[in-house]
Symmetry: C2
Subunit: 372 residues, 2 copies
């Protein structure tokens, strides 16, 4: 059994938090402005209020609370990619500032797409809690939550149109809008594959990786591609490189979650490892074991996963041993490979500075889970 | 009691059907092409299959069936508005054909937005049947239906981007995309207001009209505005006129439904009038009566609407009398006023021909319900 969380408390976490902290207030302000601007009619206060609740600045009575926003990693990817591409093109301070301003609505658009999909995923997965708060459907019911998610999807597009108002050429805006919509379609395809796999319980590692490429990595590829395109609209190579970086990072993040979900003890909460096994989640280590373990072991894993209720201590011990032996190193190697791909993609750009530093910090933060 | 359906079997219905028939195959083909093009991976057959099922060309086993498409009125509005605007600008045959080609993906986009909202509305309203077939959620469950609707929303945008591929300038495409997204946001606002009104059961006629302006008329305004903009990108007045036409027509259509839902007997099905009263639907005649009847009558209407189950024969008779006396003429006058607005908006354009004839036929079809 491997406990990887110990390593995360130190240097890399602090480095990442510092990097993410740079834009958080600005992004939060932009998202807030978009929703507040749309909310003109008092009769619609509840509609936009549900969005604000989900985003963490109103409580369930729609009263203001200290902002409990997420990490805002995806919009930060837009802004870092923008800065890095602009620097690579040799842009000076006034141009950098202008590009940053153009990228801000696009960053908000990416964050709104992410959150629209979370609102709907929470309904689809019957998750009643997110970040310790009741989900939108748990407070207002499914019909309102479906509708609030739809509204946020439309609002994400409205955000992107504002980039054009900041002087982004119409043709570039159109290219980005098309990319964002193709990405949304891929998100939905990924969610379909995820739900279909859960229903059938037979999925290969390759299909799982394809599923998370759509469901998780596509939006991170879109974030870096959109940012880089705004940062240097004349370049094709830098957006492509940062797009590849975003996708590899996205898959690596999911593999990290999959590894920690089985082998990380939550020392802060005093929780034992194997959380994902207790919840019988179909993550890559489990899927790889089902596809590769000896028939007797595979059948026992399947029997445990198909049985009702939470597995008992003996079953958990068996799963940890069997999956650990069959799939832990393989999953770590895959995570390491995606981190290497991300580093190599980043090396195809030449800029140095805060943005390069932040994107590098993200990779190293994720890569630790491959080293335990 | 007034039976208005008798008048609808004759001339106007045939006129409208003939007009709608002109583009139905072409629109159906375009929507089909978009969904089939997106469906590249056999593993995603079920995802796009749910969309095709909803649109009426696959059965629940995803086998082809004779197409059971709707009237396709909204995309036809796009194409008629396009033709009418192009004619008004003096365009000749080759330009007309090019504009029509550019408008076709936009027409498909409008139809897909309409259908995405139907898939989600059916979940939100717990409607298990649509046009005599089980709804998507009734066949595949709510999670899949939410996701299929989201996918169709993304696909609607992808459709619009194809207009740019047919030579529509990027700036014009952007204007149309922005309009479509603002419209989607209004649809969601309308749905929110509708659900909130149902929960509170107190809504004024003015708020009801505002609600249907968002929920129903906004997309018809968008359809005619988008079509006219493609038909003559240099004109501001024709898209504005046809936009006003679309909105007035959209509200008129809803008021027609509201009137017929209470006072039309379905002679074909042998059903008595008052269908909406039996289902205790909060339509304009009921809302107007609650706001304007004497206190004693108002209280009885509210008591009937708040009681569980279907009203009995005596209650239905009372509702028909009370609502008929208080609100029938008022609702007819309002319907007539919206039809007059639509006619006046149409008269602000100067073209003659098939498109003008078709748009005029739509108004006269709706207007009959104001004359009984």
């Amino acid at each position: 059994m491997v406990n990887t969380t110990v390593n995360h408390t130190a240097h890399e976490q602090a480095h990442l938090d510092r990097a993410l902290g740079r834009f958080q207030d600005e992004i939060q302000g932009e998202v807030r402005r978009l929703i507040t601007t749309a909310d003109g009619d008092p009769a619609l206060g509840g509609f936009y209020g549900q969005m604000a609740y989900h985003l963490g600045w109103l409580d369930r009575d729609l009263q203001p609370i200290p902002v409990a926003a997420g990490k805002l990693m995806r919009p930060a990817l837009v802004l870092w990619a923008c800065e890095l591409a602009a620097q690579t093109s040799g842009a000076k301070a006034p141009t950098l500032a202008k590009r940053h301003q153009q990228a801000m609505p696009a960053a908000a658009a990416v964050e709104l797409v992410h959150n629209f999909s979370l609102i709907h995923d929470d309904i689809e997965d019957r998750d009643a809690l997110r970040r310790g708060r009741p989900t939108v459907w748990a407070v207002w019911g499914e019909p309102q939550a479906i509708n609030a998610g739809d509204g946020m999807f439309a609002l994400a597009h409205m955000a992107l149109w504002e980039s054009a108002e900041h002087g982004l050429p119409a043709k570039t805006t159109l290219t980005l809008a098309r990319l964002l919509d193709a990405t949304c379609l891929r998100l939905c395809e990924g969610q379909y594959l995820d739900m279909a796999a859960e229903a059938s319980a037979t999925i290969t590692p390759a299909r799982y990786l394809d599923m998370i490429a759509r469901k998780t990595a596509a939006l991170m590829r879109a974030a870096t591609t959109i940012g880089a395109t705004i940062g240097d609209p004349s370049s094709a190579t830098v957006p492509a490189a940062l797009g590849d970086f975003g996708e590899a990072l996205g898959i690596a993040f999911q593999l990290r979650d999959d590894l920690l979900g089985i082998w990380a003890a939550d020392t802060a909460l005093g929780k034992a490892p194997a959380g994902d096994l207790r919840r019988k989640k179909m993550t890559l280590p489990v899927i790889h074991t089902i596809a590769n373990a000896a028939a007797k072991d595979r059948d026992r894993v399947l029997a445990i996963y198909h049985a009702p209720g939470e597995p008992d201590a003996a079953d958990i011990a068996f799963l940890l041993t069997c999956i650990g032996r069959t799939s832990h190193a393989w999953c770590q190697a895959h995570l390491a490979a995606y981190c290497a791909t991300a580093r190599a993609a980043l090396a195809r750009t030449t800029a140095t500075g805060e943005a390069m530093d932040a994107l590098g910090a993200l990779v190293e933060y994720v890569a630790i889970a491959a080293q335990a």
